[in-house]
Amino acid sequence: MARQLIIGAGLLAALIIFPLLSPWSTVILTVALCEGLAALGILVLLRAGQVSFGHGLYFAFSAYVVAFMAAARFGHEVLILVPVATAASGLLAALVGLFVVRYRAIFFGMLNLAISMVFFSLLEKLFSITGGADGKRVPRPTLAGISLERAEFELWIFYITLGLAVLAALGVARYLLSPGGKALEAIKSNETRLEYLGVSSRKVLFGAYVLSGLLAGLGGAVIALVSGHVTPELAYWVRSGEFVFIAILGGVGGVVGPFLGALMFQIIRGYAAVYAPETWHAVLGVMLLVIIFFAPNGLYGLMTGRKPAGTGQ
């Protein structure tokens, strides 16, 4: 725990200072935080041994809620848009969760994938409503009632997201240490015993699923704000796969992991985009293989040199 706090505090300090030194990084860092939030949701599910290849659904859903509300000039204010969109994602996760928590392992993953692909196809197909593959613009909303210039807006959004990410990470860390969090891990290690404790593993997983949907939704809402544009690609399965990628890259041993992973992901992708613009997928793929084979506990595992709690290796 102490190690986790030190790494977390170090990362936080770096994140607070960096945008002030190089303004161009603000958006990239915000995107990293958003992806880190979604990957944190994946981490929660991974603790239960479940992999979702469809969390792009919540990421995209929330982003589109922001886009629609912004287009309608309805509550065109960050402090309204973000909570509403996140809550909407949570609601959707609760609805989908009612079904998917009955499934495990590959079936859980597949069902999530299928549902997210249905949503993706609808976004592309319902051209007159969603703007099809070209997506929708998100005009910049006010922040606490103030209309800001781009640079200011981005900087503020970054620090707000950073604050929310810290809260989310602390909250998830706390949850994972609580009896409910341990029960979640129990789904992975022995669901039979959990049932014989009189605990409904579906209810436990349901809670975690909604939490993961909220986290992905928060990330999606913010990414819609900083990009100013949403596209169906946010819900595509490759995007969902990237969240899992980021979670594993960062390591699922601690809540700092996904954020480390997301930062690393952005850094690699940034460099690859400059030095290998036509093969950046491959660069990321190789990186992923290296992590899996040589540091299966991710960057966080490398830093702490510890086995992650609750993973069966």
Partner: protein
């Protein structure tokens, strides 16, 4: 702490936001180019990049822009809009690009225009076609060096009316995304105005990148429409034409393929004679008026040597962007007396700019929309090439077919007059070796 952040934020904002005045010449002019390097649209993106490399090298050999060499930095549009936006920002802010070329897809252009405003960077829309950009928005920093979908669809419609005046039924098979939907909406609006009795027998929008059109082709075979319109491009167009040709559909109906110029060489002997084709503007490497100009001969040769194929329309669009940029800097430089112009001065220079492209003349309107001629033709098989060429060509002046300033294309299409079909400013040509 909070106050410090505020101060720092303001300082950062001020640093970025200060409008640049005429200044000293930089060591190089960094131009960020957003283009598809991955995904299906890289059939346009990569030729665009190849052309840019070639043209910029040529430009630099001649002294660059006002004596400053141009350095292209590429951004992959295929990485998804969000990634594109952050890369675009990084190139503009970290690598100090004063000019950005963005982009191919209309979705990207829609997303990039407001960012360019925020970054205060000159944004040349080098290939995207959606007419709504300048009709529904006003973008100070963005400019388009080619025609828009309105001009492209209007000329296609006029050509069809001339070539096959008595058709009764039409079916459309477009890709299911903005371009496919919008181009059909425009075409249909114009068709209603010119020939209200034509029956639309099928409107099919197969998924973008669909590998199989069997069902669509079966439906068309059963419906036997006089005309089949498809604004598809790239692999989708190739697949559709291939499967339709194999099943005899191309002989049954008149096909209208406004983007087929980019597939001609690949389709080889698949495309029969009598198909109406276009290339999003007046671009064609065998352009009846410019095919023997020294610039064209040199470009075609260099491009073919480099890539092994003939140039297609995105390479001409890239050429227009590069030439237009050089001319705008030249014009701005004259205004500042040879000093390095600011981005605002460059943008101002773009307004009203007129420059020669490889295939004609481009002029930029005050709304930053380019006027460009449109070339359409009908396929013909000749012994000179192992693929179809343009015949019975018609060259539509940009001014004639582009939605007038201040009007919306969809409304303008709805009131188009039949006289336009036979306007005297339309030049016609036949294939000549």
């Amino acid at each position: 702490m909070v106050r410090m952040k505020w101060a720092a934020a303001l300082a950062a904002a001020a640093m970025l936001g200060a409008p640049a005045l005429a200044q000293d010449k930089p060591k190089e002019l960094v131009v960020g180019i957003a283009t598809f390097l991955s995904g299906p649209a890289s059939v346009f993106g990569v030729p665009g990049k190849n052309a840019a490399d070639l043209l910029i090298e040529e430009l630099n050999a001649k002294g660059g822009v006002l004596g400053v060499p141009v350095k292209p930095v590429y951004v992959d549009e295929g990485a998804g809009t969000n990634q594109l936006l952050s890369e675009y920002r990084r190139v503009a802010q970290e690598q100090g690009a004063q000019v950005m070329f963005g982009a191919i897809s209309s979705g990207s252009c829609n997303a990039l225009a407001p960012v360019a405003e925020d970054l205060k960077v000159v944004n040349v829309m080098w290939d995207c076609g959606t007419q709504t950009i300048f009709e529904e928005g006003k973008w100070k920093y963005s400019v388009r060096t080619q025609a828009h979908a309105g001009a492209e669809m209007m000329s296609t419609l006029l050509y069809l009316m001339k070539a096959k005046p008595d058709f009764k039924t039409i079916a459309v098979v477009n890709q299911d995304y903005a371009w496919g939907r919008e181009s059909w909406a425009l075409f249909q609006a114009g068709l209603k105005a010119l020939k209200p009795d034509v029956k639309v027998v099928a409107e099919l929008f197969p998924k973008f990148g669909a590998p199989d059109f069997s069902t669509e082709i079966t439906r068309l075979s059963a419906l036997r429409p006089d005309v089949v319109l498809s604004t598809s491009w790239g692999g989708d167009l190739d697949t559709f034409v291939q499967q339709a040709a194999a099943r005899g559909l191309l002989k049954q109906s008149t096909f209208v393929l406004p983007l087929a110029e980019s597939s001609l060489e690949r389709l080889g002997n698949v495309l029969p004679e009598g198909v109406i084709i276009g290339g999003r503007g007046d671009h064609y490497w065998l352009h009846p008026k410019h095919k023997n100009s020294p610039e064209m001969l040199s470009f075609v040769k260099k491009y073919k040597d480099k890539t092994g194929v003939y140039p297609i329309y995105p390479t001409f669009h890239m050429a227009q962007a590069v030439i237009g940029l050089a001319k705008a800097y030249e014009k701005a430089g004259q205004a500042t007396g040879g000093k390095w112009p600011s981005k605002e001065q460059v943008i101002a220079a773009f307004e009203g700019l007129e420059f020669k492209s490889l295939t004609g003349t481009i002029s930029i309107r005050s709304d930053h929309q380019g006027l460009e001629d449109q070339l359409l033709g009908t396929t013909k098989r000749v012994p000179d090439y192992p693929f179809a060429v343009y015949d019975k060509m018609a060259l539509y002046p940009g001014k004639l077919v582009t939605t007038p300033l201040g009007e919306k294309s969809l409304e303008w299409f709805a009131k188009v007059k039949p006289e336009l079909v036979t306007d005297t400013s339309i030049e016609t040509f036949d294939y000549a070796k």
